[in-house]
């Protein structure tokens, strides 16, 4: 039995039809706080139509926006031990998990993995769901990334990871800390096969997630305006008792400081990815769809 057969794969076509989206819902931009029609926001890939802020894009919508014809296969991820520490703060961790799992997206944890074609090239994409406990990384996310790496090795395809995470999941204590090492093994074992590992930083990417697999991409792309860093801004302010500079820890700031390769608008990510994986995988130009001409928002 091939290793791949252990996954149930569902083919999903995630193209949006205008008629599917209710017309009368509004949403508030998390950056400029302007009201936007839910439908406009969805059709704009959750980029604010007023200020251009890139709001969180849930994994399924992310996959639809990246894969050719919005077609992809979702991968079932292995179960992780439930609440290994029996953690309790003002709420039980098991209750927080239950709540997160019963939300509209029906996830089992903060990571989803899918594969499909981007510009004709098979690619595995692992996307974080920030709405699931702040996209925090515990054992389940670690397992998910390990499996995403294995799947990509099996398919001999590039691996794209899209973090959106506050960091390690406190409720799993030192177990979550160890995910920094586990996910590093996952991406390095994958890279050892000579396949490209691409990271797309989305808002926000901080803490132990940034300080492990996320900063190890062969190519590092950031969406505009995303907060990317190790320490939280409040912690830094409290420590140094100083105002933080404008744009601190934002994508453009990281680009200026040499921490990412480029800042790319969400609408152009598919084209840019398809161009990069095409070149890195030595795909013959005749065999693939033309990549279009992505607008580079910022690049050195």
């Amino acid at each position: 039995m091939s290793w791949l057969d252990r996954f149930s794969r569902t083919k999903v076509s995630g193209l949006f039809r205008k008629s599917d989206i209710p017309e009368d819902l509004w949403e508030k931009c998390t950056n400029c706080e302007q009201m936007i029609f839910h439908r406009d926001l969805t059709l704009n890939m959750r980029v604010c139509t007023h200020c251009g802020f890139h709001m969180h894009l849930p994994p399924k919508e992310r996959f639809s926006s990246l894969f050719d014809d919005a077609e992809f296969s979702s991968m079932d991820l292995p179960k992780a031990p439930l609440d290994p520490l029996k953690f309790k703060d003002r709420k039980r961790y098991t209750d927080r998990l239950k709540e997160a799992r019963s939300s509209e997206h029906k996830h089992t944890d903060a990571l989803e993995v899918a594969h499909g074609k981007i510009g004709g090239q098979e690619v595995v994409v692992a996307a974080f769901d920030f709405s699931f406990l702040g996209g925090s990384m515990g054992v389940a996310v670690g397992n998910g990334l390990i499996n995403a790496g294995k799947l990509a090795r099996e398919l001999k395809s590039p691996l794209v990871v899209i973090p959106s995470s506050g960091g390690a999941r406190m409720q799993e204590g030192a177990l979550s800390l160890m995910q920094m090492a586990r996910t590093t093994v996952a991406v390095d074992d994958f890279k050892a096969d000579g396949l490209p590992y691409i990271v797309i930083f989305s808002n926000p990417t901080t803490g132990g997630v940034t300080a492990s697999f996320a900063m190890l991409g062969d190519i590092a792309i950031a969406e505009p305006g995303a907060v990317i860093g190790f320490a939280g801004q409040r912690v830094i302010e409290e420590t140094i008792r100083q105002k933080l500079p404008d744009g601190f820890q934002r994508s453009e700031y990281l680009l200026d400081h040499g921490m990412v390769d480029m800042v790319i608008h969400r609408k152009d990510l598919r084209e840019m990815l398809s161009r990069i994986v095409g070149i890195l995988m030595h795909n013959n130009q005749d065999n693939i769809k033309p990549a279009g001409n992505p607008t580079v928002v910022g690049s050195t």
Partner: protein
């Protein structure tokens, strides 16, 4: 003993009495000596009882005790010919992580670790053991140097975390930590790590991805400080004690979860009451750990270390 912890108050009172008795009279009359020795054995008993059942928050305070042996104590007592090496060759020299070559039981080793500093001035020099990216990049350089000359690595962990600051972020704190973890995982020489005080999140694990991981009996190792966790999940740092309990950050919890290999017992009343003995005992187990890795070649050491971490996380606490 000048700096008593809050929960040691009853012990401090008796020790105060002993001190008084000793200075009260110059004549070493049998009565006084007898009284002193009675009180002393009471102190020993109380220390033993108190330290046998420290709660996680008390452990955090012991782990951070200013008189606890730090990196420099360990190195001066255990390592001969210690030869510190400086700088990351990119930007600067970060004294929050010290490292260098030396001999341990006669054999060549590379030793590196966090140093918190002993007094105010020293603490500033070492930035309270909170490294900037340069510290991690120096660590990476020393890891590779050790590998180049087939020298085993010992790391001593003692940090509240990587430094949170503007420059640290600008120079790539996250990248430096990630590369340090990556380098540890790739190394073809033995790595043994010992948490001597505080194992504070990413700033700690950055140099603690080892073949064998040891913790001092009253040290802690956590994904976030109890105060930080409390201020996020309880919305107030005042709940640090509750957070410390929930986080399961003691050596005794970590060994149950299969995250560490060995706990080094501390002298009665904690390492700060008898630093020399604490360091000697640690030295014994560090030596044992290195010896047990002797039979493996470079590829095996690397593979086993990677598999060790991949296997983590399947055991919880009941």
């Amino acid at each position: 003993m000048s700096s008593f912890l809050e929960f040691e108050k009853p012990i401090a009172e008796i020790e105060g009495k002993i001190h008084e008795l000793r200075h009260l009279s110059d004549d070493n009359s049998v009565n006084i000596l007898d009284e002193v020795s009675k009180l002393q054995s009471r102190v020993d008993r109380m220390l033993k009882q108190t330290y046998a059942k420290l709660d996680p928050w008390q452990k955090a305070q012991v782990a951070r005790h200013s008189l606890r042996p730090h990196f420099k104590h360990y190195v001066s007592k255990l390592i001969d010919d210690f030869t510190p090496l400086s700088g990351d060759r990119h930007y600067g020299e970060d004294k929050a992580i010290i490292g260098g070559l030396g001999r341990f039981h006669g054999n060549s080793v590379m030793v590196l670790g966090h140093e918190k500093g002993a007094d105010t001035e020293d603490r500033l020099t070492h930035n309270f053991g909170m490294p900037h990216p340069e510290g991690y990049r120096k660590a990476i350089r020393l890891f590779r140097l050790a590998e180049q000359f087939s020298i085993p690595v010992i790391t001593l962990i003692d940090t509240s975390g990587a430094h949170p600051g503007i420059e640290a972020e600008e120079r790539g704190q996250a990248e430096a930590i990630a590369r340090s973890i990556e380098t540890c995982l790739d190394l073809k020489v033995p790595i043994v790590s010992l948490v001597i005080g505080e194992g504070g999140s990413g700033g700690a694990i950055a140099i603690a991805v080892a073949n064998s991981i040891l913790m001092m009996e009253h040290s802690i190792y956590s994904v976030i400080s109890p105060e930080g966790c409390a201020s996020i999940l309880w919305r107030s740092a005042e709940y640090a004690k509750d957070a410390a309990i929930s986080l399961r950050l003691t050596a005794q919890d970590l060994i149950k979860m299969g995250l560490i290999d060995k706990i080094v017992s501390e002298p009665i009343g904690g390492a700060h009451r008898n630093p020399d003995k604490a360091v000697d005992d640690a030295g014994h187990f560090l030596f044992e750990a290195l010896k047990s890795l002797q039979g493996q070649n470079g590829d095996q050491l690397r593979t086993n270390r990677r598999e060790k971490f991949i296997a983590m996380g399947q055991i919880g606490l009941s």
